[in-house]
Amino acid sequence: MDKRSYKYIGRNVTRFDAVDKVRGRFPYLADEPFPNALFGAVLFSPHANAVVKKIDVSEASRIEGVEILTYLDAPNARYNGSEWFPGQDDYPDETVLTGHARHVGDRIALVMADTEEKARKARDLVRVEYEILPAVTLPETAADMAGMLHEDGVKSFDGSICYGDLEKAFSSAAYIESDTVTTPKIHHAAMETHSVLAIPRGDVLEVRTPCQITFGVQYSIAQVLDMPLSKIRVIKANMGGTFGGKQEVVFEVLCAWAANRLKRPVFINTTREETILSTRTRAAVKGKVETALDADGTILGRSFELIVDAGAYLTGTKKVMMAMGKKASRLYRIPALSYKGSVVRTSTTPAGACRGYGSPQIHTITEIHTDLMCRRLGFDPVQFRLKNLLGEFEEDPSGGANIGKARVIECLSRGAAAFGWEENKAPKVSGGRFFTATGFACCTHGNGYYKTKYHDFSNMSLRLLEDGSAILRASIHELGSGATTALAQIVGEVTGIDVSKITVTEADTQFTSYDSGCQASRVIYVCGECARLVSEAAVKMLTQEASKLLDRPVRFYEGGLVCEGKKLDLGAAVREIMEKRRVSIEVNFEHRPESNPASFGVHFAEVTVDKLTGLVKVNRYLAIHDIGQAINESFVRGQIYGGIQMGIGMALSEELPFDSMGIPRVRNFDKYHLVNAPDMPDPEIILIEDNEPGGPFGAKSIGEISTVPVSAAIVNAVNRALGSSLTDLPLTPAKVVEAARNMGE
């Protein structure tokens, strides 16, 4: 099909929620108090590693109507909030409440009252005596101190990936180059803080939560409450951003348990500080990478050793660590590889999913290393990469899915030309202290779970209604990216139905069918393809039923029903089929992808470094993405803008540091510095749309990958500007000043 003839694909359809959001009318969970709900204020530990010796709730419980549940009341069942399906073997080390606080912000008790004010006041009246234990703050020594933090004494959670003859690669190498890069612990900074509402309804427990995987929430609750999955109804609530921060289960189990126990609705809401200290973060990583090259600069082999900081609980951090390793063989042709990762627990805020699920960390490590290696060996960083990048449909030697219609070489060569790499690659100095240079980085990310250890499929049903409108019943979790509108565009393109007449549901475990969740960059590639296929099936059923009705051949042509050259009204056809044939046009379809290609991106940044202030200004920015096909270009651009904003923060200013006692140095946005609008570049965006097989209309992922190459591009630009080898992120002004001071020494 000729792309130009698309009615909706690639068009900038306005998202369903746009008007309400702009007017401030879009209701989030915290905006609509639920009748008779208790507000739950969590009592968080002020200590990093401490055992509760005594908890005295007498004063707090004297306030009328206050309900208090402490760790002494809580079930001992341990769970891992990153698991989203029974049998996933993530080590369970978390409980709903704990008498052993393992980080500042760990959950000791839940204090509930009819108002937030009363609940928080009562919470502050609970007296807790702690025995303070040594904090575990350094990942390097965390394994040796493991027994102090967790009674299980597990030192670390290790994993490895290897293939090829690494020994031979390194022994035959002309060059062996190595760097160590550290990436910071980061707060997701979604506008909406964490909240959840649980409502007991007869034998069913209803939980409303702005989450990414309703079936995962259902499973976590079932583990602790010992209830059948069918009796736990999880409804995806309107969400004000997640970036992975709401992918794992954090307060849902606690809220569900409390509501079930008290037989009253319970609503837990958190402040920014509480969300920063007690939910999830991007895992901090220290990674050593070593590359063996032949004399021409062809990669012979690469080895990794990573320490990944899970924070106080394992959460999904081992998954993240393994995901990092699995990305290592999907960008460059690496004949032999060894990846060793060690996840340790420290007495800091837990890590977990965060946009890119390890991709930003691993590609930041390798792309900074690649630039520094090229500089040391005298290779041009563009030419070096062009020589080693993967071409289309190459296999992943680690056993992952075929990489698909890779266009990363086009991304890099077009980007280098568009950004003027050759003309701008030499750093420039002005005013004695301003150093300007260009940097770039390449990256890859996935499109679902196919050929990983996790199953991937989606089940949807589409009903064409008697007025010619349509409902797609799907377990979508709108994260704010516009996914529901994008799916409506896909349904509209196939059925010819006007997008404004199509409703796409979000997940409700009682009414929508199974889906692996809005994670792993799978929504457009997997759910979008499911939406396309269920739409085709519905059209097929409609034409068959219409043919039977009219006893003449009815075809679907150019977005409408045609019978012997005459156009039929879709709504009228559906009505008549329902009336006369007693058949409704509804189909159910399950899509099981047989591919999981790579998406690719290359970002270029020109920065000016002030060597006296250490401030880095991003002057120009270019993002090029191999996305197969944009379903809605304005959504794609929105994802890229946001991805750049997050990546610059990781490169320059965002971090959650802790002192030696495990006390957070940063608790709020006064000291947590996100890049704001005045400091954002106005990025140029180029999309390479070359139709990825297996995706709807050739589309593949953009949401996560758009933040993956950013930090490395910025750091590489700074290092080129100063001739420095900065590898400890973020490059705060103090670090930049110190590096600049050493220039030329």
């Binding site: 006296l612 200004k617 890049v675 103090a734 000043v737």
Partner: protein, 294 residues
């Protein structure tokens, strides 16, 4: 129960103050710092006084020898005022670079001084402009320097509970130029890591009568005599001398602070930038002087 009063005159404020007895008192100017500090923890019997509705605390006017600046004027009203821009450019710089648009619309110059954060922006600018603060109390008014109001303790001013900052008086001085700049973590909506305010008389490219104040080195406005002297140096030596003097000054003020190496570097950038602003303003002052004479 917490009480809130919004008096419409100084007189009304005084009688309310007198009537509030031993209750804990809070004065709210723009509220931008107060809200963050006190949200959720105001004692039940506290009394709040909203000062923003008192007309005597408002107004910006040129009174010949000085500018009168009401303490409840906001950052926005200050940096958009032509008299301030003309005679108190450093204050204009400071007010326009503080916080976000929303904060600037609420935050007041009196509140900024009273809050006495070491990272505050306008106190240094006012001090460099040799401004005084007129303090009203039931026992009478007094005029204090900015440094006297700030004292030596960070986050605590020297005024008593019944003292009200009424207005600032900024001398209108012929041939004087001034400038302010800060460095934060971002170019906007950022708390100063260090800031620098300077005023000086400008004549044929040379400076005299300089006043130099640095913020964040303990309090919001620390005067640096060595930097003032350096500005008097011959033009060829001035820039390096000014940078060196400020660097030494920072070392003297916070000798053992871990942030010293960074602040010493950043203050040199401020020195360069502020000097450039002063020179440019001096040149355009001379130009406009020539024009009006010619």
């Amino acid at each position: 129960m917490t009480g809130l009063f919004a008096p419409r005159s100084i007189e009304e404020l005084l009688s309310l103050l007198a009537g509030s007895g031993e209750h804990e008192k809070h004065f709210i100017a723009g509220g931008t710092d107060w809200l963050i500090k006190n949200r959720g923890n105001i004692s039940e019997d506290a009394v709040l006084f909203d000062l923003s509705k008192i007309p005597e605390l408002r107004g910006i006017e040129n009174r010949g020898s000085y500018l009168r600046l009401g303490s409840m004027e906001t950052m926005t009203s200050i940096h958009t005022d032509p008299e301030i821009r003309l005679h108190a450019a450093a204050l204009c710089d400071a007010a326009s670079s503080m916080g976000s648009v929303q904060i600037r619309n609420r935050a007041t110059v009196g509140g900024n001084l009273a809050n006495a954060s070491p990272a505050a922006d306008t106190p240094g600018a006012l001090a460099a402009l040799n401004a005084s603060a007129v303090i009203f109390s039931p026992s009478g008014t007094k005029e204090l320097s900015i440094e006297e109001v700030l004292g030596t303790c960070p986050n605590k001013n020297t005024l008593s509970d019944s003292d009200i900052i009424m207005e600032f008086r900024i001398p209108v001085r012929k041939s004087h130029v001034s400038a302010f700049k800060k460095i934060g973590s971002r170019s906007e909506v950022s708390i100063a890591r260090i800031n620098l305010a300077v005023s000086a008389k400008y004549e044929d490219g040379a400076f005299c009568d300089a006043m130099v104040f640095v913020g964040t080195l303990g309090t919001a406005a620390k005067r640096s005599p060595e930097a003032e002297n350096a500005l008097l140096m011959p033009i060829s030596l001035r820039k390096e001398g000014f940078k060196k003097a400020l660097c030494e000054f920072a070392g003297r003020m916070i000798p053992s602070r871990s942030t010293l190496p960074y602040k010493q570097s950043a203050i040199q950038a401020l020195a360069e930038d502020v000097l450039e602003m002063l020179e440019a303003r001096g040149r355009s002052l001379e130009k406009s002087g020539e024009k009006s004479h010619g």
